[in-house]
Symmetry: C2
Subunit: 352 residues, 2 copies
């Protein structure tokens, strides 16, 4: 890695001018990379990969060897937190994440422990420290967690869900119990993010994948309220570590998300950046928002879409280019190179 420090990401988050639009890719360390698949095969399973600092470090660095990215993001999973709370995370082949012990009753909730990040999640902190050492300040390292709401959906459903039967039963049947669960997850998440920052993460991100399945009132009460607590806590304890919130399908709520005092807001591809910028009034950096499906396209179409995203944001220094959601596994890495090359050639003219 180069030892010239690339500060574009942190500059955009902190409202300092940049020479071109910084870029990273959600799930940039992932199954679309043959070298990732190779390391994953060596590890045997996902939890060994995420749980072994040397392997997590290796896959974190892999995309940076291929692409001129402006940030690394810790290779981990949002469900390490409930795993550390005793739910027993495992992955069924082709099935996504599952928990051996879902959290469904008030009794289940009242028994949840508050893990110590440097003990039960020590493997994550060790990975952060190792990655920082290997990066040698070439690019910043992003740490992350799930939002309390999103993590709670997995804890209550016991895995992924389409209809959110169990958590909505709790929400509309016993909302005090749900608030108790969200409070406990929030406490652990705050401790976890602080520990990542202490271990060396230079920016933090909260993924609220499932906030968009809520009514506006329920989003405020069960998702945004707890992300606000995270922002407040981190802003108080780690003033120089910017934090980005990303709720998928949050087109209606971008103003309220920006009003939490976070530094960056993720925008999926269903909202144009021009509109997102108008709704958030340059108070935050905007991260996104190319449709991940564009990368299935021809090189010409990819170039067009990069330009469309840049045009939509327009002139300014607070855009962090990214996909609107994680990169898909069947994407050709050559198309990713093409996207990044195009961005590097076009974006300086948006920073004049």
């Amino acid at each position: 890695m180069s030892n010239k420090t690339n500060t574009r990401l942190l500059d955009a988050l902190n409202a300092r001018p940049v020479d071109r639009t910084p870029v990273w890719i959600m799930r940039q360390a992932g199954r679309y990379l043959p070298e990732y698949l190779e390391t994953r095969k060596q590890a045997g399973d996902f939890m060994t990969l995420a749980g072994t600092p040397e392997l997590a470090c290796e896959v974190t660095l892999q995309p940076l060897r291929r692409f001129a990215l402006d940030a690394a993001i810790l290779f981990s999973d949002i469900l390490t937190v409930p795993d550390a709370m005793g739910l027993g995370l495992y992955f069924e082949a082709g099935e996504g994440p599952r928990f051996k012990h879902p959290t469904r009753t008030p009794q289940d909730i009242s028994r949840l422990p508050t893990p110590d990040p440097e003990t039960e999640l020590r493997y994550v902190m060790d990975a952060v420290r190792l990655i920082r050492r290997e990066l040698n300040d070439s690019v910043p390292l992003i740490g992350f967690s799930g939002s309390p709401w999103t993590v709670a959906t997995y804890m209550v459903e016991g895995g992924g869900s389409k209809e959110y039967q169990h958590i909505k039963r709790l929400m509309y049947g016993d909302k005090n119990a749900l608030h108790e669960l969200l409070t406990r997850v929030t406490t652990t998440t705050i401790n976890y993010l602080k520990a990542q920052a202490d271990a060396g993460a230079q920016a933090l991100m909260v993924f609220d994948t499932w906030g968009g399945v809520l009514t506006p009132a329920a989003y405020r009460e069960f998702s945004l309220h707890y992300m606000q607590q995270i922002v407040d806590a981190l802003r108080a304890s780690h003033t120089s570590t910017p934090i980005t919130l990303f709720t998928k399908n949050a087109g209606n709520w971008l103003t309220e998300i920006a009003n939490t005092g976070c530094h960056g807001v993720g925008v999926d591809w269903t909202t144009d950046l021009q509109e997102a910028r108008a709704l958030t009034n340059d108070a935050v950096a905007l991260q996104g928002n190319m449709d991940p499906g564009v990368l299935y396209g021809t090189k010409e179409r990819i170039s067009e879409e990069v330009k469309r995203v840049l045009d939509s944001y327009g002139q300014g220094h607070r855009h962090i280019f990214n996909l609107g959601h994680g990169i898909h596994q069947h994407i050709d890495p050559d198309n990713v190179s093409h996207m990044i090359d195009t961005l590097h050639s076009l974006s300086p003219s948006y920073h004049q």
Copy 2:
């Protein structure tokens, strides 16, 4: 069935005053009803149930025997159209719909026939005629189709999808081929909806379940454009049959949907009706928008949410109460009764 004609639904769609808010439920004939499960078991499989007019009529009428609903909706599936185009629809147990012959290449697309609704889809038209006879004008019958975009996603993917890999490959790789596919599906859909209206459907609805996975530009080009063609064609040929468009996750696009000239717009639960009404300016009826998950809740919470939805719309005659998406299979029918009773007792005061 009563032979006093209930016109509330058609009145709300046609901007005529009503005494209380009309109500029906998406997937009201469905797996949450024990009598549906019984008929489904007799039929053996979903396609026999949907394909036998007497059985389709029976399950269409079942929810009207239990609940004081203001409309019946044809029991069928949005994928009967591509099935009639030769794709071979089937259902794997627990897997959702599948096609034996997905449509993926320009060659596949160019070979798609234009079925005659009164021939290849005769069983649907016979069901419509039978249901109308049995309803005896007690409540109106709603006919429906999928949107061309939504139907095309299933045709190209070969079934349900999370990432829309194949259709996005077409969209960003060969958009002319995708437009050719959408044009063919639109032609057949228009013929199909006209035939349903001719057979007796008194209102029509287009379900655009997957329009919300598109960028704003792609939504206009690949989904809304073709729904506009449907509205234009039906308004020209069937002036007295109101048509409702429903794109899930369309909070950003409600104004544009209303501007097609449709009579009603479906609103899922992620947008408040107050905002939807402001965006559409009473030019259309608004249908929705209770979170289907509310029906897992206590009776008290269900009552509160019915009131919240009514308050959100406010005073006025163009609200059609419904869930924001189909009812879930594990819902207790008693909770549905409670929702409808509450609506009947509260809603007259919003029509003064």
